[in-house]
């Protein structure tokens, strides 16, 4: 009976560990999702602001369409450049500058 109890407790420990790792992965996924949602909202906000000025029509005209396409592309480009600056700054911090 004692051996069974110990085995039971081991299994419980392993399940708890697996659950904790699952919860950890879940939290990371949530963090990533929040990041992407924020990212998308921000692109939408900036590009709408910069590309759409009037509301005569409900449809986007060709100029606005081209603007949106390029704006999104440029925003991604800017994201990469800022990423590089972040990395440089983190490396500078790590080396104690």
């Amino acid at each position: 009976a004692e051996r069974l109890a110990k085995a039971g407790m081991n299994a419980f420990g392993q399940n708890a560990q697996a659950a904790a790792q699952g919860a950890e992965a879940m939290q990371m996924m949530q963090q990533e999702a929040r990041f992407y949602i924020d990212f998308v909202n921000k692109i939408t906000d900036q590009c709408f602001r910069k590309c759409v000025a009037r509301f005569h029509d409900a449809d986007l005209n060709t100029g606005e369409q081209a603007c949106v396409d390029r704006c999104v592309s440029k925003y991604f480009d800017a994201t990469n450049k800022v990423g590089e600056v972040f990395q440089q700054q983190m490396q500078a911090n790590a080396s104690g500058k």
Partner: protein
């Protein structure tokens, strides 16, 4: 960071997660802000030289600004904690 407060491993892990979350948020905010300030024309699909230089400078400046503001914030927080502790001891 906010170490040195005598925290357990669980709390430290939580703090690290929060700091990660904060970094991600700052990243998104920085891109948003710097794109807003630096990019106004859309004749092409990529940043031109001037825009790229502007975005980089903006990002670097914003990061340095954030770091400095955070240092002052941490100092103030410590000041307040010390004050509170003093008041608690005097009240005994």
């Amino acid at each position: 960071g906010m170490g040195g407060m005598g925290m357990g491993a669980e709390q430290e892990a939580f703090m690290r997660k929060m700091e990660m979350e904060e970094t991600l948020k700052t990243y998104n905010d920085t891109v948003y802000r710097c794109f807003g300030e630096c990019v106004d024309s859309f004749r092409s699909k990529t940043l031109d030289g001037k825009e790229e230089a502007c975005v980089r400078k903006c990002a670097e400046k914003f990061i340095k600004f954030s770091q400095r503001a955070q240092m002052r914030f941490a100092e103030k927080q410590q000041e307040m904690q010390q004050q509170m502790m003093q008041e608690m001891q005097q009240a005994r």
